[in-house]
C-alpha cells in the first residue's frame, strides 16, 4: 500500500525550488527527452518521480538500487526542457540522498564516497600512474590534505552516513 510519507514531502518541499515544483502539470516533456526512459521502456521515468515526490508518495524507497530512482543518468536534459522551469535533477538529488541515508543506494555511490572520505580523491594515485605521468612529462600531482578533508566530512556527518 502506498502511504503519504510526511518526512519525504517535507524534505522535498524544503528544497529551495519547491515553489516551482507546485506548478508541475505532468506534461511529460521530461519523459520525452529522458535517454534512460527511452531505452528502458520507461522503467525509469522522471515524470512520476516528480509527481510522487510532491505528493509525498514514497514509491522509490524501501528497496535497494531502486531503478525508478537510481535509473537517472544525471544528464540534466529534463531541467532544460521543463516548461515550468523545475530543476528536476535537484529534487532527484534530495531523494537519492534520502535513499543513501537509508542504506538503499547502489554500492558504487557509497564505495566512491568512502574512498573520497579516506583519501580525499575519488581515484587515489597509483605508483604506475605516477610513472606514466613522469614518462609523459607531466608534473607531480600534489596530494590533498586527507586529514583536513576527513575533518570536514566528519563535520558534515558523512562518516555517520557511511557508518565509519
Amino acid at each position: 500500500m502506498v502511504v503519504v510519507d510526511y518526512e519525504l514531502r517535507k524534505k522535498v518541499m524544503d528544497a529551495h525550488i519547491h515553489d516551482a515544483l507546485k506548478y508541475c502539470y505532468q506534461c511529460a516533456r521530461c519523459t520525452d527527452v529522458c535517454p534512460v526512459a527511452k531505452v528502458t521502456d520507461q522503467r525509469y521515468n522522471p515524470r512520476p518521480v516528480i509527481m510522487n515526490s510532491f505528493l509525498g508518495l514514497n514509491t522509490f524507497m524501501g528497496e535497494k538500487d531502486n531503478f525508478s530512482l537510481w535509473g537517472c543518468t544525471i544528464c540534466d536534459t529534463c531541467d532544460e526542457v521543463c516548461p515550468q522551469k523545475i530543476e528536476l535533477t535537484e529534487i532527484f538529488t534530495v531523494l537519492k540522498n534520502m535513499s543513501i541515508a537509508r542504506g538503499e543506494g547502489p554500492d558504487y555511490y557509497t564505495t566512491q564516497a568512502s574512498t573520497i572520505y579516506d583519501t580525499g580523491k575519488a581515484i587515489p594515485m597509483q605508483p604506475a600512474i605516477e610513472r606514466r605521468r613522469k614518462d609523459l612529462g607531466l608534473p607531480v600531482i600534489e596530494p590533498p590534505d586527507a586529514d583536513e578533508v576527513k575533518k570536514l566530512l566528519n563535520e558534515t556527518k558523512l562518516n555517520k552516513i557511511l557508518k565509519k
Binding site: 531503478f67 544528464c75 532544460e80
Partner: protein
C-alpha cells in the same frame, strides 16, 4: 571576480590519476596558445554524479574547500573535466547567490580554518580555447586536418544546467565545434549530438548505459563521422574504454576512434602521437592517423 593571467589547473581525479595522457595533450596545447597554469593540492572536486547523489551537504562543503584553495592565490580555476567544472561552478554560484547557504558552509569550513569568499571564477577549458579565438589556433596549425569528419560531443555537464553554468547553448553548443573547425576538421551534424554518453546510469545498471552509447555511436557513424571529439574524461572512457561492451549489445563492430579535443589540436599543431600517449587509447587510432597523414 579574479581576472587571472595564470589559472589553477584542475585536472581532476580521472584525468590526473587514471588517464593522464589527456592532460599531456592539454598542456602541450596550452603552452602553444599561451595559457598559463599552476598546481595546487586540490582534493576531489567532488564528483557531481556520485558524491552529490550521496550527500549534497558534503558535496557543497568539499567543493567550497577546493574553491578556497584557489581563492587564497586569487586565481581562477581551469578545469579539464566536465564533472569538476560543473561541481565547482555550481558550488561557487550557489554560495555566491545564497547568503544562507554560504553562512552554513562557512560555519563548517571554519572547523578547518577556511572561509569561502566567492572571489574567483571557474572556467571549462573549451570556453578558454574558444575565447582565445580561431585565428590564434589557426596560427599554430601545421597539419591541417581538412576532410577529417568528426562527431562533436560536449557532454552534459559542460553546459547544463544552462541557467547557472552559462557556458554555451544548452541544446546547440557552438564552442567545441568552433575550436574543432579551426583545425580544418569538419564537425558532422548528427541526430543524437545532444544525447548523454550514458555514464551516469552505468553506475546503477550497465545495460541501459550501453544501449544509450550504442544509439549515440550509431547516430554519429550514420552521419559519416570518422571519430568522436570529446571534452570530458567520463565521456572519453565511455566512448573509448567501453566501446567494446556497446559493440556486444549492438552485435556489431564500431571501431570508431575517440579523441580529446586537445589531442586533436595537438596533432594539428604537429605533436607526435607517441608524445601524446595515443597508444593508451583502447580503440586503435592508427588507420585514422595514417589516412590523414598524422602518423
Amino acid at each position: 571576480m579574479a581576472k587571472t593571467e595564470e589559472y589553477k589547473m584542475f585536472q581532476g581525479c580521472t584525468i590526473g590519476n587514471r588517464i593522464p595522457f589527456l592532460e599531456a595533450s592539454a598542456r602541450k596545447v596550452f603552452d602553444k596558445l599561451g595559457i598559463k597554469t599552476s598546481e595546487a593540492p586540490f582534493a576531489c572536486c567532488p564528483d557531481p554524479v556520485g558524491f552529490n547523489s550521496t550527500d549534497h551537504l558534503s558535496w557543497l562543503a568539499m567543493g567550497a574547500r577546493n574553491l578556497t584553495i584557489a581563492e587564497d592565490e586569487g586565481k581562477d580555476i581551469i578545469s579539464l573535466c566536465n564533472g569538476c567544472f560543473q561541481t565547482l561552478k555550481l558550488v561557487n554560484k550557489e554560495l555566491i547567490h545564497d547568503e544562507h547557504e554560504k553562512e552554513k558552509i562557512n560555519a563548517i569550513l571554519k572547523t578547518i580554518g577556511r572561509e569561502f569568499k566567492g572571489t574567483i571564477n571557474v572556467k571549462h577549458f573549451v570556453e578558454v580555447l574558444y575565447d582565445i579565438g580561431a585565428d590564434k589556433i589557426k596560427e599554430n596549425v601545421v597539419k591541417e586536418l581538412a576532410g577529417l569528419k568528426v562527431a562533436c560531443h560536449t557532454g552534459c555537464h559542460y553546459n547544463r544546467p544552462s541557467e547557472i553554468v552559462q557556458t554555451d547553448d544548452p541544446m546547440k553548443p557552438i564552442k567545441l565545434r568552433g575550436v574543432v573547425k579551426a583545425t580544418g576538421a569538419v564537425p558532422v551534424d548528427y541526430e543524437e549530438e545532444m544525447l548523454c554518453c550514458g555514464a551516469g546510469v552505468g553506475n546503477t545498471e550497465e545495460e541501459p548505459a550501453m544501449q544509450i552509447l550504442n544509439n549515440k555511436i550509431t547516430s554519429a557513424m550514420n552521419a559519416g563521422a570518422e571519430a568522436f571529439i570529446v571534452n570530458c574524461p567520463a565521456c572519453f572512457q565511455q566512448f573509448d574504454t567501453n566501446q567494446k561492451k556497446a559493440e556486444k549489445i549492438a552485435g556489431k563492430n564500431f571501431g570508431i576512434p575517440v579523441l580529446y579535443v586537445t589531442e586533436l589540436l595537438a596533432l594539428a599543431f604537429g605533436e607526435k602521437p607517441d608524445d601524446l600517449g595515443l597508444k593508451f587509447h583502447r580503440v586503435r587510432l592508427s588507420a585514422l592517423l595514417e589516412k590523414h597523414g598524422l602518423s
